[in-house]
C-alpha cells in the first residue's frame, strides 16, 4: 500500500470560544476521552454498589429485607452488563482510545472530531437509558447479563416489561455510539499518523486499542441483531427466539422460536467482547512494563502478531460458552480445540511480559505495581480458562462458582488493574499533577490481595459444587458448612476491596488540587504523548509543526546514550547511535 510522507497537517479543527464549547460540546479528543472516563467511572460505581448488595445477600442470607430474589437478580444482571459494556469497553476504547491514539500517533485530533463528539453523547444517552431502568415499573431486567430468552421477556422474570426494553434500547444505542467512535480510532491510526510513525513504530497501546476496535466493529453487530430481534419478540410478538410457551397458566402467542439462536448470536458478540476488553489492556500493560522496567519490550513483532492472532481466533471460539446447551459433541470438540489454540498467542504475550521484566531496571512505582499485579491475575484467570475450555471439565463446572471466579479474574480484575495502572501512569499528562503515591500503594495492595481473598475461595466452593446464580443455597446436604463460612469471608473481602476503590476516587480528586506538580514526562517515557508543545497538551496537541518520529517506542537503556531512554522524536546523533544494533 502506498504511503505519503505527510500527515494531514491541514486538518481543520474546531476552536471553541466558550467554556461550554471547550469542555461540554467539545470536539477535542482529550476532553472526549475524559468525558468517557468520568461517565464510565460513575456508572461503574453504580455497578460496584450492586455487587455489595449481591455479596451481602450471599454472605448473610436473609439478613437484609431490602434484598429479595427479584432485587438480587436485577443486581446481578445490571452489575454484569454495566461492568462489561458500559464501564470497561467504554473506559478502554472511549477513554484510553480517545486520549492515546491521536497523541501516540502524532495526530492533532481524531479523523472525524464531530462524529467523535457525537459518539460520546450517544454513549451518555445509552448510559442514561440503562440507568433509567432502575426507575421504571418493576425495575431493571433480572434476566442475567446474558439476557437469555425466553425468560428475559416472559412474565415472572423481574423487569420483563419495561426493564428489558430499556436494556435492549440502551445496548442498541451503545453499539451506535461505539461504531462512531470506532471508525475514528481506526481511521486515525491508519490515516493520520505523523511523519516517520510507521505501523511498526507504533506503541503497543495503540496496537491493542486498534485491534480491539476492529473486533468491536465486527462483533457488536451481533449484539445489535440479537437485541433488535429480542425487542421485536417482546414488543410485537414475533417469534425469532420465543418458542411455544405457557406463562402463568396461559399459552403465549409465540411459537417455534429458537432460544439457541439467541445464544449463538449473543456469544458471537460475547466472546470477542472478552478480547475487546483484554486487547487494550494487553497493549497498555506492555507499555507500562517496558517504561517502568527501563527495557525494550521483548519480542515486539511477536507481540503485535499475537494481538492480531488473538483477534482473529476470538471469532471462532464463541460456542465454548454453550457446551451445556445440548450442542452436538463434535461442535464441542471443535470449539474446545480453537479455545486451546487461542491460549498459544496469549501465552506468548505473558512470556514476553515476564521476559521484559527479566533483568530490567524495575521501578516498583504504582503503575508498575498494577502492571505486575495484572500478570499474576491474568495468568490465574487464563489457566482456569483452559480448564473450562475443555468440554468434559466445563460440563460439571459450568453452573458453579468456579466460572464466576474464572471470569472475574480474567476479564474483571485483570483489565481493572490495567485501568488503574494506566490512570496512575497518564494522570500527570492530563492534569499536570502526580497522584498521591501513598494512597496509590494502599489502593494497589488492598485491591490486589483483596481480589485474591474474593475469587480464590470462589474456585474452591465451585469445585465443591456450589451453584452460581442462586439467591440462597438453603440447607443443601452436599454442601459443607464451610461454604457459608467462605461466603462470609468473600463478602467481607469484597466490601473492603470496594471501599479501597473509593480511596482511589478520593485520590483522583485530592491530587487534582493538592497533588505534587508533575515535571514534563515524569516517567521518562519515549512515546509521543509526552512530547507535546504544551504540558499538559492543549487542543491541537503539537503547535505549528507536527512531530517527526525517528525510531520505535522502546528505546530504553540504549548502550552509550546519556539517558536511559531516547524519545521517539530525538534526531539521530552520537547519543543515539547505540540504538541501532
Amino acid at each position: 500500500m502506498a504511503h505519503v510522507a505527510l500527515a494531514d497537517e491541514g486538518q481543520d479543527l474546531a476552536h471553541p470560544k466558550t467554556w461550554i464549547g471547550a469542555y461540554v460540546w467539545s470536539q477535542d479528543h482529550k476532553i472526549i476521552g475524559i468525558q468517557y472516563i468520568l461517565t464510565a467511572t460513575a456508572v461503574g460505581v453504580v455497578a460496584l454498589v450492586l455487587s455489595f448488595m449481591m455479596r451481602l445477600q450471599l454472605g448473610f442470607p436473609g439478613a437484609f429485607d431490602l434484598i429479595q430474589p427479584s432485587e438480587y437478580y436485577q443486581a446481578v444482571t445490571m452489575h454484569g452488563m454495566i461492568m462489561i459494556v458500559f464501564m470497561l469497553t467504554a473506559f478502554f476504547l472511549g477513554g484510553f482510545g480517545n486520549i492515546l491514539v491521536p497523541l501516540m500517533c502524532g495526530a492533532r485530533d481524531m479523523a472525524f472530531p464531530f462524529m467523535n463528539m457525537l459518539s460520546y453523547w450517544v454513549y451518555l444517552l445509552s448510559v442514561i437509558v440503562v440507568c433509567a431502568s432502575f426507575f421504571v415499573p418493576e425495575g431493571p431486567t433480572g434476566a442475567g447479563w446474558t439476557l437469555y430468552p425466553p425468560q428475559a421477556i416472559t412474565e415472572g422474570t423481574a423487569g420483563a416489561d419495561w426493564g428489558i426494553v430499556c436494556m435492549t434500547v440502551s445496548l442498541g444505542l451503545f453499539v451506535i455510539a461505539f461504531t462512531m467512535g470506532g471508525l475514528n480510532y481506526v481511521t486515525t491510526a491508519f490515516q493520520a499518523r505523523t511523519r516517520g510513525m510507521t505501523l511498526m513504530r507504533m506503541p503497543l497501546s495503540v496496537w491493542g486499542i486498534i485491534m480491539a476496535t476492529i473486533l468491536g466493529l465486527l462483533a457488536f453487530p451481533a449484539l445489535l441483531v440479537s437485541v433488535i430481534m429480542m425487542t421485536l419478540d417482546k414488543m410485537l410478538d414475533t417469534s425469532f427466539f420465543m418458542p411455544a410457551i405457557s406463562s402463568l397458566g396461559e399459552n403465549l402467542s409465540h411459537e417455534g422460536g429458537s432460544p439457541i439462536l439467541f445464544q449463538h448470536l449473543f456469544w458471537f458478540f460475547g466472546h470477542p467482547e472478552v478480547y475487546i476488553v483484554a486487547l487494550p489492556a494487553f497493549g497498555i500493560v506492555s507499555d507500562l512494563i517496558s517504561t517502568h522496567a527501563r527495557k525494550n519490550i521483548f519480542g515486539y513483532r511477536m507481540m503485535v502478531w499475537a494481538l492480531v492472532a488473538i483477534g482473529g481466533l476470538s471469532f471462532i471460539v464463541w460456542a465454548h460458552h454453550m457446551y451445556v446447551s445440548g450442542m452436538n459433541p463434535y461442535f464441542g470438540f471443535f470449539f474446545a480445540t480453537t479455545t486451546l489454540i487461542i491460549a498459544v498467542p496469549t501465552a506468548i504475550k505473558v512470556y514476553n511480559w515476564v521476559l521484559t521484566l527479566w533483568q530490567g531496571n524495575i521501578h516498583l512505582n504504582v503503575p508498575m505495581l498494577f502492571a505486575i499485579g495484572f500478570i499474576f491475575t491474568f495468568i490465574h484467570g487464563g489457566i482456569t480458562g483452559l480448564f473450562l475450555g475443555n468440554v468434559v471439565v466445563d460440563v460439571p463446572l459450568s453452573d458453579t462458582y468456579f466460572v464466576v471466579g474464572h471470569f472475574h479474574m480474567v476479564m474483571g480484575v485483570s483489565p481493572f488493574l490495567v485501568v488503574f495502572g494506566g490512570i496512575y501512569h497518564w494522570y500527570p499528562l492530563l492534569t499536570g499533577r502526580m497522584l498521591n503515591d501513598t494512597m496509590g500503594k494502599i489502593h494497589f495492595w488492598m485491591t490486589f490481595l483483596g481480589t485474591y481473598a474474593i475469587y480464590l475461595p470462589m474456585h474452591y466452593i465451585g469445585i465443591l459444587g456450589v451453584p452460581r446464580r442462586y439467591f440462597a443455597n438453603g440447607s443443601t446436604e452436599f454442601l459443607p458448612e464451610s461454604v457459608q463460612t467462605a461466603n462470609v469471608s468473600i463478602t467481607i473481602a469484597a466490601l473492603i476491596v470496594g471501599m479501597a476503590q473509593f480511596l482511589f476516587i478520593i485520590n483522583l480528586v485530592w491530587s487534582l488540587i493538592y497533588g505534587k506538580k508533575s515535571e514534563r514526562n515524569p516517567w521518562r517515557a519515549t512515546t509521543l504523548e509526552w512530547q507535546t508543545k504544551d504540558y499538559p497538551p492543549k487542543h491541537g496537541n503539537w503547535g505549528p509543526e507536527l512531530p517527526v518520529v525517528h525510531r520505535w517506542a522502546y528505546s530504553y537503556s540504549v548502550p552509550g546514550a546519556k539517558d536511559d531512554y531516547i524519545d521517539q522524536t530525538e534526531e539521530p546523533s552520537e547519543n543515539t547511535k547505540g540504538d541501532v544494533h
Partner: protein, 221 residues
C-alpha cells in the same frame, strides 16, 4: 453462522494480508534515521473519509451477514412457511440498479469537473432511490393485504426486518446525498464535492450488492 464466518474471514483476511505487507521483515528496533531512509511512515494515501466509509462497510457487512446467518438457522425449524415475494420487488431491484448506474455516471462526471452532468445525474440517482423505497413500501402493503403479517410466520418477520434494516441504510445514504445536492445547488466547488459524490457512489454500489444478496436469499427460500 457459516455466512458470517465467510464474510468475517474475508474482512480479517484482508486486514492480515495488508498487515503482513506492512510488517514482514521490518525490524523497528534496528531502524533509526531521517524520513525516507527506511520508511516514509505516515498515513495511507487514501483520504480519511474513504477509509471511514470502507470501515463502515465492513461493519454493515458484518451486520447483514449476521441477519443472513440467523435467517438460515431459523428456517430449519418446522414452523417456517416461505412467503410468496411480491412481483414489485423485481421493479424496485431494477430501480436500485438504475440509481447505482446514475451515481457512477455522476462520479465519472465529477472527476472530469462537469458540474451540470454531476448535478443532473445525482438528482436522477436520488429520484430512483426514492422510487426504490416506495417500491419496498408497496411490497409491504401487498404482503399485508395478502395476510402475510409480521407475526404470522418467522419467514414474514425476517422479510420485514431485512427490508427495513436495508431501507434504514438507504435513508442514511440519502441524508448524505441530500447534503451533497444542497451544496451543489449553492455552487460549491465540484472539486470539494468530488469526494462526497465518490463516497455516495461506493455506498450505493454496496447497498445494491447487499440488496441483490438479500433478494436472492428471499427468492430461493
Amino acid at each position: 453462522m457459516t455466512a458470517t464466518l465467510i464474510i468475517l474471514a474475508v474482512i480479517m483476511g484482508s486486514v492480515v494480508f495488508w498487515l503482513i505487507r506492512q510488517t514482514l521483515n521490518v525490524q523497528p528496533w534496528a531502524e533509526e534515521g531521517p524520513i525516507g531512509q527506511h520508511h516514509a511512515g505516515g498515513p495511507f494515501s487514501i483520504p480519511a473519509a474513504k477509509i471511514g466509509l470502507i470501515t463502515f462497510l465492513a461493519v454493515a457487512s458484518s451486520l447483514f451477514s449476521l441477519f443472513v446467518s440467523a435467517y438460515f438457522q431459523r428456517m430449519e425449524y418446522g414452523d417456517w412457511t416461505p412467503l410468496t415475494e411480491p412481483g414489485v420487488l423485481w421493479i424496485s431491484t431494477g430501480l436500485l440498479i438504475l440509481a447505482s448506474i446514475f451515481f457512477q455516471i455522476a462520479r465519472n462526471a465529477a472527476i472530469k469537473s462537469q458540474v451540470k452532468k454531476v448535478k443532473s445525474n445525482l438528482l436522477i440517482a436520488g429520484i430512483f432511490t426514492f422510487a426504490f423505497i416506495a417500491g419496498q413500501f408497496w411490497a409491504w402493503q401487498e404482503l399485508h393485504d395478502a395476510g402475510y403479517f409480521l407475526t404470522s410466520n418467522p419467514a414474514n418477520s425476517f422479510f420485514y426486518v431485512l427490508t427495513a434494516i436495508h431501507a434504514l441504510h438507504i435513508f442514511g445514504g440519502l441524508w448524505v446525498w441530500s447534503k451533497t445536492v444542497f451544496k451543489l445547488q449553492n455552487k460549491a466547488e465540484v472539486q470539494k464535492l468530488r469526494m462526497s459524490v465518490e463516497l455516495c457512489t461506493i455506498y450505493w454500489h454496496f447497498l445494491l450488492l447487499v440488496w441483490l444478496v438479500l433478494f436472492a436469499l428471499l427468492l430461493s427460500t
